[in-house]
């Protein structure tokens, strides 16, 4: 088991290194000058040259990439060019390891930007996860138990219809109608848990979380329904019934236990993807999470932030894959690692 985990982590690290190389090649080997974007809209040739040097864009792509990797391992100082650093030592920003880069647009290290945005994204994803997992599994089980009835059809239909609306339409509808026009809930503004307390934190997350939950719920309803139906036709469930167990007990203790195991994989991967920021939802509700950071970075052509975010999100996905595989082997004794 341990050997398996170590091997997976090793492969994961290699994947990340390759991923960073691919990202660098994609963004820097293109015919477009990255310094022009990093420098901003009103950019003189001299300023552009300076930006190029301070970010290290004057060096070949491979050198930039190795510098980036070095920065991740041991931190680095900006501006990148030693002459510029010597010329203005008071402007030098140290970016401690693991350094993901320096954003000229925000005059902050990318790490600081991500550190500010991460709690917002994490909060939204947790709230959404709780909602969609609870309602997805609940409705999925109800639909399976009431299979073929109007209730079953209704649940499956409603979840599919909600899923099929574009996510930003659902978000905007909730924001503009439920919150602003009809004022059923307050217009959501993110309130950190440390400042506003748990209650305000939770209410502030309601609408964005509902938007995301609606998007993911349909899949979970379907999966839960299918898995529960499948496990209900298993022999051991029939045995449990035959020995006279109450149907509720059979459902929860016997059938659902087997049915919900496959959901672990799905939950892990979906959550990891969300944690990296829901670009559309965060933009709709104007919550400054990682997704909004990505959107803004793209609007201002803030390349270092974009690269940092791509690699952070890639890390989430790769780590989640490893955790999910290991967890699955632990939960399901039939799975053999190797």
């Amino acid at each position: 088991m341990l050997a398996y985990v170590i091997r997976r982590c090793f492969v994961g690290v290699i994947m990340l290194i390759v991923m960073s190389l691919v990202t660098f090649v994609l963004f820097f080997a293109s015919p477009v000058d990255p310094a022009r974007y990093a420098c901003g809209k009103n950019c003189s040739p001299e300023l552009r040259e300076q930006t190029r040097k301070s970010l290290g864009y004057d060096k070949p792509v491979v050198v930039q990439w190795t510098n980036f990797l070095k920065g991740v391992v041991q931190g680095r100082d900006y501006p990148d060019d030693p002459e510029l650093r010597a010329a203005a030592p008071e402007l030098v920003t140290h970016c401690p390891a693991p350094c993901f880069g320096y954003s000229v647009v925000n005059t902050k290290t990318v790490n600081e930007l991500m550190k500010e945005a991460f709690p917002v994204s994490l909060s939204i994803s947790i709230a959404a996860l709780v909602l969609w997992l609870f309602f997805g599994v609940l409705f999925g089980v109800i639909a399976a138990v009431r299979r073929g009835t109007l209730i079953d059809r209704g649940i499956v239909a409603v979840s599919l219809v909600l899923y099929a609306f574009p996510a930003f339409f659902i978000g905007l509808f909730l924001l503009k109608f439920i919150a602003i026009k009809w004022q059923w809930v307050e217009v959501p503004v993110y309130s950190p848990i440390a400042e506003a307390g748990v209650g305000a934190w939770m209410t502030s997350l309601l609408l964005p979380a509902v938007t995301l939950a609606v998007l993911y719920m349909a899949g979970y309803v379907r999966m839960t329904r299918a898995f529960v139906l499948e496990s209900m036709s298993e022999d051991y469930v029939r045995t449990a019934r035959a020995k006279g167990l109450k149907s509720g007990r059979v459902l929860f203790k016997h059938s659902m236990r087997a049915a919900l195991t496959p959901l672990v994989t799905l939950v892990g991967l979906d959550f990891a993807g969300l944690m990296g920021g829901a670009i559309i939802t965060e933009t709709v509700f104007n919550y400054n999470g990682l997704g909004k950071l990505a959107f803004d970075a793209n609007t201002t052509n803030d390349l270092p932030t974009i690269i940092g975010l791509v690699l952070l999100l890639g890390t989430f996905v790769i780590v989640a894959n490893i955790i999910v595989d290991v967890l699955y082997a632990v939960i399901d004794p039939r799975v053999r690692v190797g």
Binding site: V32, P166, G276, I280, T283, F295, A297, V310
Partner: protein
């Protein structure tokens, strides 16, 4: 949504809906395809969704001709139909609905909403269709090669699949857009004014992040087909690789490919809308369902019909395609039960 379609065993299974026993004289042999079509036609929901999909596609094909004939007019301004005193809202109830403009007119410009939505459908479907076809062709070819060849070829393709799936696709789509669209504008004739560079970029990048999932499904299918006798026979007869790939293996994959197709289309229709919201994608005056929806956001409460219609149409086509995909899967795989 994952596809686990498998019609591999259907050939050996008896027709589950076959003629009653004892009436053997009427029993006629039917090909698996005929059986599947029969099962599909008995499923009312699948037939309805099939009809809806066909209607959408015919409408999309007809739109350019109707525009040329002057029946639909998505570009002419009718500013006399909007009221400058209310910030350009359409005159009349429900967004200015009249005989000439059955769905009303657009705020500010007064363009006919029905024409824009109808013509926009053409662009949305064309983008989704091109991206789906490219993703499926690339995914199928690489999946077949990986699954059949095995060894280091399989390892390389498998790693590429893992790597591509680890990239945050929405963020990459967004982040690569300014460079990607510029690149497309340089390559393609027409320049920035044309919708072509934007459309090509969206198609290309959707396919770029879409093929790995398809390749993974196909690879799994190939692994099970490859062990069967007819493939061994072909190898022994000295058939060329190309013949084995495309004449022996590919015909066994059309069922999962068809299901994948019907489930990828709706995902890309939604993706086009999401990208339009984020500002990537085709810009007005060329209409797509996504950019119409985006331009309607500011009028969501003042002109609800204009806000709701594009989202509603997207919802209907996405639901229909999903149901169609499920129906085809069930029809091709008699073991599945809903």
């Amino acid at each position: 949504m994952t596809t686990t379609a498998s019609n591999l065993e259907s050939e050996q299974l008896p027709d589950p809906t076959g003629a009653p026993e004892g009436d053997l004289s009427k029993l006629k042999g039917q090909s698996p395809t005929r059986l599947a079509i029969g099962r599909f036609r008995r499923d009312k929901l699948s037939m309805v969704s099939f009809v809806v999909v066909v209607l959408y596609i015919s409408a999309a094909i007809a739109a350019p001709f109707l525009v040329k004939a002057g029946v639909l007019d998505p570009t002419t301004f009718h500013q006399d139909l909007t009221d400058p005193n209310t910030g350009g809202l359409p005159i009349g109830r429900l967004g200015g609905i009249s005989w000439d403009h059955p769905l009303g007119v657009e705020p500010q410009t007064g363009r006919d909403v029905l024409s824009r939505i109808w013509y926009g459908l053409t662009f949305s479907l064309a983008i989704a269709l091109s991206a789906t076809l490219i993703a499926i062709v690339v995914g199928a070819v690489l999946g077949i090669i990986a699954g059949f060849t095995g060894g280091w070829v399989d390892a390389i393709i498998g790693r590429s699949i893992d790597l591509t799936l680890s990239f945050p696709s929405t963020l990459m789509l967004l982040a690569l857009s300014s460079m990607g669209i510029q690149l497309m504008a340089d390559i393609l004739p027409g320049g920035f004014a044309d919708p072509l560079p934007n459309a090509t970029y969206v198609v290309f990048v959707l396919a770029l992040f879409g093929w790995p999932g398809i390749a993974r499904i196909i690879r799994g299918q190939v692994l099970s087909v490859r062990e069967r006798e007819f493939v061994d026979a072909a190898v022994l007869l000295g058939a060329s690789r190309r013949r084995i790939y495309f004449k022996e293996i590919l015909p066994n994959l059309w069922a999962p490919l068809l299901v994948t197709f019907t489930l990828t289309m709706p995902a890309y229709i939604s993706a086009e809308a999401a990208l339009s919201y984020l500002g990537v994608g085709i810009h007005p005056p060329t209409p797509t369902l996504g950019n119409i929806l985006k331009s309607s956001i500011n009028y969501s409460s003042a002109d609800f019909i204009f806000f709701f219609m594009p989202a509603f149409l997207i919802m209907i086509i996405v639901v229909s395609f999903n149901l169609l995909g499920d129906g085809i899967r069930d029809a091709l795989d008699p073991k599945t039960a809903r």
